[in-house]
């Protein structure tokens, strides 16, 4: 029988970039055009298979509004992964993302898997953040990178699959390397093929 592993995951990023929409698409496969801003954080779970394990994502979808900024440590504390979301049509939101990367590096858990998601890629015609720039940045910090569209259900599953693959399996040091890396300055990033 598969082991169920609880993995805490937090979503960070500027207000209005679509954090809740990504989670809603991932967990409920649903998109709502008018959702109200999150207060504090919302909590949802979803279990996905990964090799011999089942990953139960405990997802803390944090509020992007500035007044809740100070609460963020409660959500990234103990997290196995952080998804930092920006809006490809808003350059500002990419700047905010960089601040989150910095904060995680300074105060976040040491082995946290970081994923960068450029959301709203269905609005390519009003894009402000070039894909290459974001991708290069992600590479420079050894983070997962993906552009998503919560509205059109593009790459949302993939985002979480990539995270799953980055999580080192329990009691199994035998691993082969994968396309993305952990944020830490530690030795060889390791992961294992699964799913």
């Amino acid at each position: 029988m598969a082991i169920i592993r609880e993995l805490k995951v937090c979503l960070l990023g500027d207000t209005g970039v679509g954090k809740s929409s990504i989670v809603c698409r991932f967990v409920q496969d649903h998109f709502d055009h008018n959702i109200s801003p999150t207060i504090g954080a919302s909590f949802l779970t979803k279990t996905v298979p990964c090799g011999n394990e089942l990953h139960k994502f405990l997802i803390w979808d944090t509020a992007g509004q500035e007044r809740f900024h100070s609460l963020a440590p409660m959500y990234y504390r103990g997290s196995a992964a952080a998804v930092i979301v920006y809006d490809i049509t808003k350059l500002d939101s990419f700047q905010t993302l960089k601040k989150w990367v910095k904060e995680l590096k300074e105060h976040g858990p040491e082995n946290i898997v970081v994923a960068i998601a450029g959301n709203k890629n269905d609005l390519g015609d009003i894009r402000e953040v070039p894909m290459k720039e974001a991708k290069d940045f992600a590479e420079s910090i050894a983070a997962i990178f993906i552009e998503t569209s919560a509205r059109n259900a593009v790459n949302v599953e993939e985002l979480f699959q990539k995270i799953s693959r980055q999580i080192p399996p329990l009691e199994n040091p035998e691993v082969d390397s994968n396309e993305s890396f952990k944020l830490t300055r530690q030795a060889a990033p390791s992961s294992r093929r699964c799913c």
Binding site: E6, V27, Q28, F43, L44, T45, K56, M74
Partner: protein
């Protein structure tokens, strides 16, 4: 005998793991939308703040204002209703009352009378939750609990030289351990991050599942998931069903093995030579006061006293922390009447004088300096108690009915010498009290069950038969053959203990509850008998007026059965509904219209 055997424990652990596994075993394909906090319950039933109010009445922040003294600074959610009287109570009860050196963080609990009776909008839903809860975990009618996290630290920037503030959860639920764990997560963050933190926490709580006994509940709060199970009244007493299967990361999730049990051994340690006598005093509803150096000591001890009767409910008033400002101060301390049947926990030295006339006083020293305490063997004379500085111990002239059980004392003492873990000592003590209470209560249960009329006396066409009355002498006679000697090796004046108990509020509360349950059972059996009848045949023999009367009566019964959730066999109510429909259809059309109306309105 006292401690569970290793097998039993292993068995329990297995059970609990099964439950846990079962709970989390959801294959991805079946993953429900909102697999998160919402599960099962139909969401549209709940208005905003309904879920919150199923757990909490409100959250208060109590601070110290140099001009006003203690004041409620914030009430969250802002629309929560508290009367001025209630606010005043909360203010005084949320701060340590003596100048005890409560430096740093302190947690304690208090209980106060509800000034007005506001029914929450989801009242009937809560009743259903309460029905399955053990008696001692039901919502407290008429009282609120206040769970306090008090912080006092030096702060030169403040005029008073100290930062003093309490975060207080107000609830009707007696889940002491749960709320204290919740506060441990919430309060330190609040003191640092202020209002957004409360806003986030309340928002989290408002998406929790309602407190339903028997289910494993996942409660996300402030970045952590609390996992717990509210016991049901059907659980085998003395078993805990939720254990942490694997050591987890407390930043991710926390498993609470209990939501309400206090550490009995720690609380009773200063007076543990007298535990059996204390059990008798609590059982008989005697006036008891606990004088302690701090509100956390007083509230822990009072809660331990109340819970040592479990599964029996302590029915009189109890105040884990009581102050001279309390609105019941006069009522409880008057010398013109005999002391009331209550348990008070106090810290103000003033009470040593005010309550000098009370028959039983427990004096707790500083719980941290426990070295010499265990030597205090003798019950002390009351006149020796002058001030709060008197020596720790039990001050009483009470002569216990039962002989002292030396074994439990020896067992605990041995544990102290061998440095047995506190959790194990607590388990021994809890088991001891459980067996004692059960030995005491089983003969009563047996006798009361015999008051139930025989099944054959239930006739569908007569009102349900009455319960036979409780006759004290008749009960006493049953003790010869079926008394506590069957389950307890303790000797002593059990008869005397029962006689005294029958006069106490605890018996009254217990018997009322039993009576109510049995009457509902009778109603249910009666209803089932009625459903088995051929009603069509019956109405053929009766006039139209009588038939209409029957329909109205049946409808009444149906409503009552639904409202009171009578313990009927599955399908009975649907059957009754069908009977009603078919009788109505056999009536003339004009009458049909009239009889159908109320149902569709």
């Amino acid at each position: 005998m006292a401690l569970q055997t290793a097998e039993e424990i292993a068995e329990q652990m297995e059970e609990s793991e099964d439950i846990l596994e079962h709970d989390v075993q959801v294959s991805p394909a079946e993953e429900m939308p909102g697999d998160g906090p919402v599960e099962e319950e139909s969401e549209q039933l709940f208005l905003p703040w309904d879920r919150f109010s199923a757990w909490l009445h409100c959250i208060c922040v109590v601070g110290f204002d140099l001009e006003l003294g203690q004041a409620v600074e914030v009430i969250y959610p802002h629309h929560s209703k508290l009367t001025e009287k209630e606010k005043t109570s909360i203010c005084y009860l949320s701060f340590p009352d003596s100048n005890s050196g409560c430096l740093g963080d302190t947690q304690f609990c208090f209980r106060f009378r509800q000034a007005s009776n506001i029914q929450p909008s989801l009242g009937c839903f809560l009743d259903r939750c309460d029905r399955d809860a053990p008696v001692c975990l039901k919502r407290d009618q008429g009282h609120f609990y206040g769970y306090v996290y008090f912080r006092q630290v030096r702060d030169k920037s403040l005029k008073r030289g100290y930062f003093q503030k309490s975060l207080v959860l107000i609830s009707k639920l007696p889940y002491v351990t749960f709320f204290h764990s919740l506060l441990k997560l919430l309060a330190p963050e609040y003191f640092e991050k202020q209002e957004p933190c409360l806003e986030a926490a309340c928002n989290d709580i408002d998406r929790w599942p309602t407190p339903t006994p028997g289910k494993i509940l996942n409660l996300p709060i402030m970045g952590v998931v609390m996992k717990l199970r509210i016991p049901t009244c059907y659980d085998k007493p003395g078993t805990s069903q939720l254990v942490q299967s694997t050591p987890g990361d407390s930043l991710v999730s926390i498993v609470l093995p209990t939501i309400h049990e206090v550490d009995l051994f720690r609380c009773f340690y200063p007076v543990f030579f007298h535990i059996q006598m204390l059990w008798e005093l609590v059982l008989l509803g005697e006036s008891l006061v606990v004088m302690a150096p701090s509100p956390s000591d007083s509230s822990d001890t009072v809660l331990a006293l109340v819970s040592c009767l479990s599964p029996l409910r302590y029915c009189s008033d109890f105040r884990p922390y009581f102050t001279i400002h309390d609105s019941e101060f006069k009522e409880y301390t008057t010398r013109t009447q005999a002391p009331p049947s209550v348990i008070l926990g106090v810290t103000n030295p003033f009470f040593a004088k005010t309550l000098q006339h009370w028959p039983h006083i427990i004096r707790i020293g500083d719980m941290k300096q426990t070295g010499e305490v265990a030597k205090q063997m003798k019950v002390k004379k009351l006149k020796n108690l002058k001030t709060l500085d008197s020596k720790p111990g039990v001050y009483s002239a009470y002569k216990p009915f039962l002989n002292k059980d030396e074994d439990i004392i020896k067992q605990l003492q041995k544990g102290v010498q061998q440095k047995r873990p506190s959790a194990a000592q607590n388990a021994i003590l809890r088991r001891y009290f459980l067996e004692l209470t059960q030995s005491f209560i089983i003969p009563l249960e047996r006798y009361v069950a015999s008051l139930m009329p025989l099944q054959k006396t239930i006739s569908p066409w007569k009102s349900p038969p009455q319960l036979r009355p409780f006759l004290q002498e008749e009960f006493m006679k049953t003790l010869e053959k079926a008394g506590p000697q069957l389950t307890s090796r303790l000797k002593g004046d059990w008869i005397g203990l029962y006689r005294q108990f029958l006069k106490s509020p605890n018996f009254d509360g217990w018997f009322r509850n039993r009576r109510k349950e049995m009457m509902q059972k009778l109603e249910a059996l009666h209803l089932e008998a009625l459903c088995e009848e051929d009603l069509q045949l019956r109405i053929q023999k009766h006039t139209e007026v009588e038939t209409v009367d029957l329909v109205l009566k049946l409808k009444d019964k149906l409503t009552k059965a639904e409202n009171e959730q009578l313990p009927v066999r599955a399908g009975t109510l649907t059957k009754l509904q069908t009977h009603i429909e078919s009788i109505i259809l056999s009536l003339p059309e004009d009458l049909q219209g009239i009889l159908h109306k109320p149902a569709t309105l």
